[in-house]
């Protein structure tokens, strides 16, 4: 594809600068990458049981699972915002030794297989877990098999996405404004709230979307820690997995619902916030 925007600027000698022909060692793998990413989605659209879609969605507790998914992902995102943005600030601003290690540790769930996260959550907050056993003994609270456990599992895997994107913005942001505010007598927290926060708002928005999308798709940690019960802990990915075992067309129908949600999110964002470096 060649773009029409390749007119030479400012009388520079005629040389194609703006859009050179893509060399084939780049074009071929790039084309394969596009096919690789899009063919499965096309397959789903082609094989979708369009005729029975409404019947399947009515029968398979899809509405219930979708409702639960949306609620839990939103709760997980709100918790991530409340806890994650301050942590991002600490990671970006702290000069204490060991901050690097702290950052590596708290963003570990980014690379950790979710099912391992689920096992870890179970060992910590499960009924016989190191924290969970006290919750059970003192308050009679047990987390596994509850909707709260779904939110915890989703927050665990999704919060690092928000932390990473907000921390990046805080580091690359303009420190001069903060220093100016400080010299004008603004207290540290007021500076954070009125200067720093508005500056990194686009990154917070982008991070929230990534966090929400990750939470919406969470499966491994959820099924391990929270279990799988329609209406209580069975989110959309769990419903898809369950349906696939016995009724593949239903699994395709449920997947289409999630695909629609994802596409809607992308369209609403119009890739404004999702490009790295596109913020501020």
């Amino acid at each position: 594809m060649t773009s029409e925007a390749g007119t030479t600027p400012d009388g520079i000698p005629r040389r194609r600068v703006a859009s050179p022909r893509t060399p084939w060692p780049i074009a071929v793998p790039a084309g394969l990458a596009v096919a690789f990413l899009l063919v499965p989605l096309a397959g789903m659209l082609i094989r979708a049981p369009w005729g029975q879609l409404s019947r399947i969605l009515a029968e398979t507790q899809a509405v219930e699972a979708l409702r639960l998914s949306l609620i839990c992902a939103t709760c997980a995102t709100v918790i991530s915002l409340i806890l994650g943005v301050p942590l991002a600030w600490v990671l970006a601003r702290s000069r204490a030794r060991g901050t690097r290690y702290l950052r590596a540790l708290v963003t570990l769930p980014l690379v950790l297989p979710p099912v391992v996260g689920g096992v870890a959550l179970l060992l910590a907050y499960g009924r016989v877990g190191i924290v969970g056993s006290h919750l059970d003994r003192w308050f009679g609270l047990t987390l596994p098999f509850t909707t709260v456990a779904v939110v915890i599992a989703e927050t665990f895997v999704a919060m690092p996405f928000l932390i990473v994107s907000v921390e990046g913005a805080l580091r690359s942001g303009d420190r001069g404004l903060e220093e100016a505010a400080a010299t004008l007598g603004s207290r540290a927290f007021a500076t954070f709230r009125r200067v720093t926060l508005p500056q990194v708002l686009p990154s917070i928005a982008a991070g929230s979307v990534l966090c929400w999308a990750r939470a919406l798709g969470e499966f491994g940690a959820t099924i391990t820690f929270a279990g799988n019960l329609p209406g209580v802990t069975q989110t959309m990915p769990g419903a898809v997995y369950r349906a696939f075992e016995t009724d593949p067309p239903a699994a395709v129908a449920l997947s289409l619902v999630l695909l629609t949600v994802s596409v809607t999110v992308l369209v609403l964002l119009r890739d404004r916030w999702l490009r790295p470096g596109a913020d501020v």
Binding site: P25, L32, A35, F36, L122, G126, R127, V128, T142, P144, F145, I223, G227, N228, L229, P230, V232, T233, Y241, R242, F244, E245, T246, P248
Partner: protein, 270 residues
């Protein structure tokens, strides 16, 4: 494709991937290094090569032993297993998974595979019954099946789509009990794990799973008049690339030596 040119920068990763990606005819390599590649169809009488056996999760321990036995009896053969919920395996097989043998925990799931013409005929080789599994400390003081219907008791079951879940539904129907589980797990081993970890107060799993847990859970008998059993059929699959070896493995499971392993694991004769 004219020729394969090496990438400009010979990264270690690219070097590793070269045999797969650079000169391959297909852009999608089958993940996991393709164990099927070395498979060869052998002349009758001399068993060689590899087979992939899809087996119900409840067969994990017994079939692992049977696989080792078989490989010792037939040097040069490799038996690889994929253990999961029978219903999941049946779906995978009908969707074209490269399996050679299917051992299911219910006739219903095997019937799906036969109906899809993925297997000709199946032979029932064992039966299995359910038992109540509780943590050794038995925090909810479960003593009989009716205790599972008490409010506040955290009961975990297999989801009704998988054989152990379908059998549990029958047991509760026979006993006239309504039980509200806290979770419906994907297969019997994850159901058992919730009890092993102490998260659930009780679960309905197979007798063989309680035995295989080796004391990590305590089994409580379900009265014979309400208990339900499930039959385990086995079949060599039509799409097998090594039909002789697949048939030989099925024969081994059906042999007296095979039956001894299965009986020791707690399975009942068909």
């Amino acid at each position: 494709m004219a020729r394969c040119r090496l990438p400009l920068v010979a990264l270690a990763a690219a070097w590793l991937a070269l045999p797969l990606a650079a000169c391959g005819s297909s852009p999608t390599s089958d993940a996991g290094g393709s164990p099927s590649a070395s498979r060869s169809s052998s002349a009758p009488g001399s068993l060689r090569g590899e087979i992939l056996v899809f087996a119900a999760a409840s067969l994990t321990d017994a079939f692992t032993t049977l696989g080792k036995q078989f490989q010792e009896e037939h040097p040069g053969t490799t038996v690889t297993f994929n253990f999961a919920a029978s219903s999941a395996l049946a779906t995978q097989i009908t969707q074209g998974a490269p399996a050679d043998v299917f051992a299911s925990a219910s006739t219903t799931t095997m019937d799906q595979v036969v109906a899809a013409k993925a297997a000709d005929r199946a032979t029932t080789f064992v039966r299995n019954q359910l038992q109540i599994a509780v943590p050794p400390a038995n925090p909810a003081r479960i003593a009989r099946l009716a205790d599972l219907a008490e409010p506040g008791v955290k009961v975990v079951l297999c989801q009704p789509e998988v054989p152990c879940g379908a059998t549990a539904v029958k047991v509760f129907a026979n006993a006239g009990l309504t039980v509200a589980p806290v979770s419906l797990e994907a297969d019997v081993k994850s159901t058992l794990a919730k009890v092993t970890l102490g998260e659930a107060d009780a679960a309905l799993v197979y007798v063989t799973d309680v035995l295989a847990a080796q004391g990590a859970v305590t089994g409580i008998e379900i009265p014979a008049e309400v208990n339900a059993s499930t039959s385990y059929p086995i079949a060599a699959l039509s799409a097998s690339r090594n039909p002789e070896l697949a048939a030989a493995f099925v024969d081994h499971v059906l042999s007296t030596r095979g039956a001894a392993v299965l009986t020791a694991a707690g399975f009942a004769a068909p």
